[in-house]
Subunit: 127 residues, 4 copies
Amino acid sequence: MMSKDLFSQWLGIERLEERVGYCKLRMTVRPEMCNGFGIAHGGISFSFADSALAFASNSHGRHAVSIEISISHISPIKIGDVLIAIAEEKSLGNRIAIYEVRVEKPSGELVALFKGTVFRKETTWNV
Amino acid sequence: MMSKDLFSQWLGIERLEERVGYCKLRMTVRPEMCNGFGIAHGGISFSFADSALAFASNSHGRHAVSIEISISHISPIKIGDVLIAIAEEKSLGNRIAIYEVRVEKPSGELVALFKGTVFRKETTWNV
Amino acid sequence: MMSKDLFSQWLGIERLEERVGYCKLRMTVRPEMCNGFGIAHGGISFSFADSALAFASNSHGRHAVSIEISISHISPIKIGDVLIAIAEEKSLGNRIAIYEVRVEKPSGELVALFKGTVFRKETTWNV
Amino acid sequence: MMSKDLFSQWLGIERLEERVGYCKLRMTVRPEMCNGFGIAHGGISFSFADSALAFASNSHGRHAVSIEISISHISPIKIGDVLIAIAEEKSLGNRIAIYEVRVEKPSGELVALFKGTVFRKETTWNV
């Protein structure tokens, strides 16, 4: 997925770890990701977490599309900050699955908490 | 805000209409905003709506920071699609305010529905 | 649905208006619905809105089950308050539908804003 | 709080464990909590989790009021089911705190996942 995902590439996302239902990603905040307050636009931590959701939820081989997501912004993210996203599967049903993504500083400090619900299609990645 | 907001500029956001507690924005989806499925990354419609939230919630002159947001993805967004975001104030308290942002096609078709809760600081834009 | 829904009956819900994808309900807050602060427990406005969601989303004849819901609590609700819930369909897909429910005082003051996403089963009410 | 909270009493909530920022509760689903499908009304698991949120978020001694909550319904809850709610603090700021509440069967099976954001007032419980 990552090789064709131009926006994840623009974000500069690196994949640290991936297994079924889980992934861990890293990125660094650049000036062009920031808003008028000198801090990262709210869309940056969301987009980063959303990539983690996509990788984790599609890891079972079936297409998964996100239907409803919430994000809590906990502390401001600044230019140069390194961010880690950790996506974990909380529930896996036939049609619906739920993931939590923690966006952290390398110190483990939580900066955003993301919950995503996906719809699992019947189509698979290798068909 | 917009003149210093490099990420909103990267998104190509144009401001169609703004008044207190309200704004209407437009953007066009470019190839570098898309994911591996050939459709816009979920972070694009979120980021676009989040800019609308920022403009509308800061329009009262006090700093507003988003604390909790949810987004429903309704239909896929493709390269070349023109998107309109319409932010409306649903509730304005002294500390907490709530906004709904509709992300639509120019035809009025709803493609994403966003709800944002902001914390209103005591500091103002002109101090 | 209402005739078999003992909890909606406990809440004292009255149906004011119903059509496909829409309903309007009324209830009155009683002492046994309140928490230690002398105000209605957060579960009361949620439950009331959730009944409105169930009625509106099942009105098409197919079984609809809620999968993800958010509620914003805007102002406290007290013993004796009359509440109105207005459920409106925001999006109707084959599998997923989205509803907004406004919980208001009779004056039209918004006290809670609720967004519900449902999964639409293939089974129907009359089979 | 519990001694004055008539609705938590109606739910039959028992307190299994409480410490600062955490609590664990138990309840049993009764017929009058169920909807027309013969399963617990969506408001029941929400209300149960919301009581856990209130106990955990007020455990620091300052008044905390919930402003925005989301709940994912994962599997149906039936008459006679015993439910456990486990509230954990995910983030504690001066004004805003975030809690996750897991609603489980005694086997540990997750039946609902709840995320609550509270506003922390300056007033305390002992004034």
